[in-house]
Symmetry: C2
Subunit: 458 residues, 2 copies
Amino acid sequence: MTARVLVVDDIAANVKLLEARLMAAYFQVISANSGQEALDICARSPIDIVLLDVMMPGMDGFEVCQRLKADPNTAHIPVVMVTALDQPSDKVSGLEAGADDFLTKPVNDLALTTRVKSLVRLKMVTDELRLRADAGTDMGIDQLLVAGIDDKIGERGRVLVVDDRVSSYERLVKTLSLEHDVTVITDPQEALFSAAEDGYELVVMSTGLENFDVLRLCSQLRSLSRTRMLPLLLVANPGEDAMLIRAIDMGVNDYILRPVDQNELVARVRTQIKRSRYNERLRESVQQTVEMAIRDGLTGLNNRRYFDSHLESAFDKAQSGGKPLSVLIVDIDHFKQVNDVHGHEAGDDVLREFAKRIGKNVRNLDMACRYGGEEFVLLMPETDIELACIVAERMRREIAAHPFIIDGGTKQINITVSVGAACIDGNSDSKKALMKRADDALYSAKRNGRNQVVSDAA
Amino acid sequence: MTARVLVVDDIAANVKLLEARLMAAYFQVISANSGQEALDICARSPIDIVLLDVMMPGMDGFEVCQRLKADPNTAHIPVVMVTALDQPSDKVSGLEAGADDFLTKPVNDLALTTRVKSLVRLKMVTDELRLRADAGTDMGIDQLLVAGIDDKIGERGRVLVVDDRVSSYERLVKTLSLEHDVTVITDPQEALFSAAEDGYELVVMSTGLENFDVLRLCSQLRSLSRTRMLPLLLVANPGEDAMLIRAIDMGVNDYILRPVDQNELVARVRTQIKRSRYNERLRESVQQTVEMAIRDGLTGLNNRRYFDSHLESAFDKAQSGGKPLSVLIVDIDHFKQVNDVHGHEAGDDVLREFAKRIGKNVRNLDMACRYGGEEFVLLMPETDIELACIVAERMRREIAAHPFIIDGGTKQINITVSVGAACIDGNSDSKKALMKRADDALYSAKRNGRNQVVSDAA
C-alpha cells in the first residue's frame, strides 16, 4: 500500500514536515505551494491522493478541492483537507467542497498514515473498476461508466451502530439520526448477522465492547462476501493506536477518537457513505455494461458472441464428462414477409414475442440465444437427441398454435418455425461439425415444407 | 486484509496449529480433514484461500489442488501447498498441479501471514474484475470473461533482476534463464526507469543493495501507474522479517530467503508470472467487453446508448463553458431500396463504407455514432452552426461524388445523404430540444428533395 501523494501548502516548513513523515512510511511525495500549482500537477500527472492546506493566499483549499472534484479527469482523486484545530467549521466546509477526509494540525502520525492508506486502498478499487490502468485511452468509456452516478447522493443512509454502552450509543444515535436511519445492536454476533442480511451502508463500531474483541468483528465482516465492501468506522479511545493500525490494515475504513466531535462524526459518516455509494454504482455500471455486451438488444436473449464462447465450454464439459449435449437451431418461417407486409416494427414484435416463448420452453440449464436475424439457437446440456426433439416439437407446436400479436395489439398473425436438431456424437465430434449437422437438419426442415422439426439422426 | 481461510489436513494437531496462528492474525478459519471434505466446502461456500497438506490418505493434496483448479467455479481460489521440508520435489509437483504458493513445515509465522495476505490481496483484484461481488448470479458473464485466458501460459517470461552483487545475480540469472528472458540492472534508479518502459512481467530485487534502501525502490514501483501491477519478488536474508512484513504491506508480492533453493525460485517466479498474466488478460477481457457494449457491431462506430450518455456530458460542458455545440443527423436516402434491390449484404456494405467516410470527415474532438438503422449522428463540440454546415456540406458532397462498392467489388451504386444540423442555443436550451431541431431540419431536407443539408437556423 503505497502511493503518489501531493502535499499542498504555501508554507514550506509545513510541506517539509508532511513530506518527511510520508517518505518515512515509503510514500512518494510531490509538493505544490499554491492552489494553482496543485491543479496543474493533478492535470498532468497521476496523483493518488492530495493533502490540501485550507488557508492559502489566492486560491484557498476549498476552492482547489471544488475544482478538482468538478473536473471529470480529477474528480476521483481523494482529497484530504488539513485544517486548523480551532476551526471545526472548516470540516463541514471541506465536506461541502467535496473533500474525502480531514486531518487536524498538528498532524498526528497515526492519523496521517492510516487515513492515507485507507484512501489509497479505496482508490485502487475505483481505479480497477474505471478500467483506467494503462488501457484507459478511451476516456469515453470511463465517462459512460460514471455518468449519472451522483444521482442518489444526499439520500438518508442506513447506519448500524454496534455498541453496548447506553450512554455512548445514545449520543452516537442522536448525532447520526439527523441525516441517517440508525439501528443499534449491542450483541456483536447479532450485529454480524444483521450486517450481512439487512443492507446497511455503514457500520459504526465502538472499541469498548464488553467481553468481545472488536477486531474479531471487523475480521468477520471483512471475510463474509456480503459485507466485504461495507464501510466500517471505529469509535476508539486515545491510546489505542496499535489496535487502530491493525484495524486499518484489516480493511477498516476510518476511525474517530473519543470524545467524539459531533461535526467530525457527521462529516466522516457522510463521506464513507458517499464514497461507498459511488463505488457501488460504478460496480453496477460495469456489470450492466458487460451484460449488455453479451445480450441481444431487441430480445434480451444472449447474443451470438456469447453463444460461441458458451458452446466452447459446454462442448468441452460434455465430452470430458461423457454426457450428451444437444443443439436446436430455430428459424422463423417466411420472416421476410412479415417485415415486408407488416413493416419492421411488426417484425420486431414477432422476434420479441418469439424470444419470450422460447424462454418458457427451456430449463435453467439450457441456453437460448439470438444467433442472427430470425435465427435462434438453443443449447441443451445433458440432453440426448430424443429429449431434444421432444422439446423442439413442443416449442414448434406452441408457436404455431397461438397467433402473434403485432401493431400494439391491433393485429395478429400466424407464425411457424422450422427446427434443426443435433446431438454431440462421440469423442471425435467437433463443435463445428455439431453446428453443421443442426444447420443441415434445419435446411431439410425448410425444404420439406417448413413448420417441422428435423434431427440429424433422422 | 483479512479472509476466510480453509485449512486442510488429516492430522488434527496440524489443523489446530495453523488455525491458532491464523486466528491470532484475525483471519477466519474453516477446517477440513480430508480432500473430499475440502472440495465439498469450496463448492458450497465462499473461500478466499486454501492451505492444503500434501500427504493425506485417500485423495492427496495434489489431487485436491488439481480438482479445484479444473473446476471453473473454484479455479480462482488461491491454493497454498503445505509441504515437508525434506521433499523439495513436492514444490515442483504442487506447481504442476496448479498450486499458487508453498509453505514448508514447520510453518514459519512470517511466511504464513505474509503469503496468505499477499494472495488474498491479489484475489480481491481478481474478484473485482470477475464482477462476482454479490451480483454474480450470471455465471455466464464470468465464463465469457475468462474464456481462453490460459492460452499464453507457458511462454517465456520477461524478468528484470535488480542486484548489485555479481556472484548473487549470476546465480539468479543462471536459474531463471532456463524458462525466462532475464535482464540484470545494478543501478536501482535505472531499474525503475526500465521497469516502467520495457514491459517486464516480474521484477526480482535483492535486499542487499549497496547505498540503497530496496523498500524505496518497491515504493517507487508501486507508485508509478505503469508498474503498479507489476509483480515484485524480494530475495532476502534470514532475519530481515520486519523489512519483509513492511514490503508485503507495501504491495510486494512474494519473497524468497537466502540461500536460494533453486526449485523454490523457479516455482515462485513461474507462479507470479502465471498469476499476473491471468489478471492482465482478465482486465483486457473486461475492457474489450465494455468496449463492445458501446459500439455498433456492424460499423464499429459508437452506438446510441453511448451517444446518449456522451451528449449529456458534452451538452453540460458546452453550457457551463458558454461554448457552442453542434449536432448533425445524417440519414442515407432511399436506403430501403438498397436493401430491397441489392439485398441485405449490400445494405451492410453501404453502412460500413458510409461509416468509414464519416470517420474521415470528423476531428478527434467530434463523436460519430450510428443512431439506428441508416441514421447516424455527429456531435461537434466547440463548433457553431456555420462551421457545422460547412462540415456537413463537405460530407454530403463527398458521399454523392464517389459511388459505393457492393457485392464484393462487383457492383457499385450511387448513394446520397440528407443532413439536419442544429446548434445549442443559449442557456435555456435542452438536449431534447437540440436533437428535435436537428431532426426537424433533417425532415425539411428530406421533404425538399433529399441530398442536401438543412440547418435549424435556416
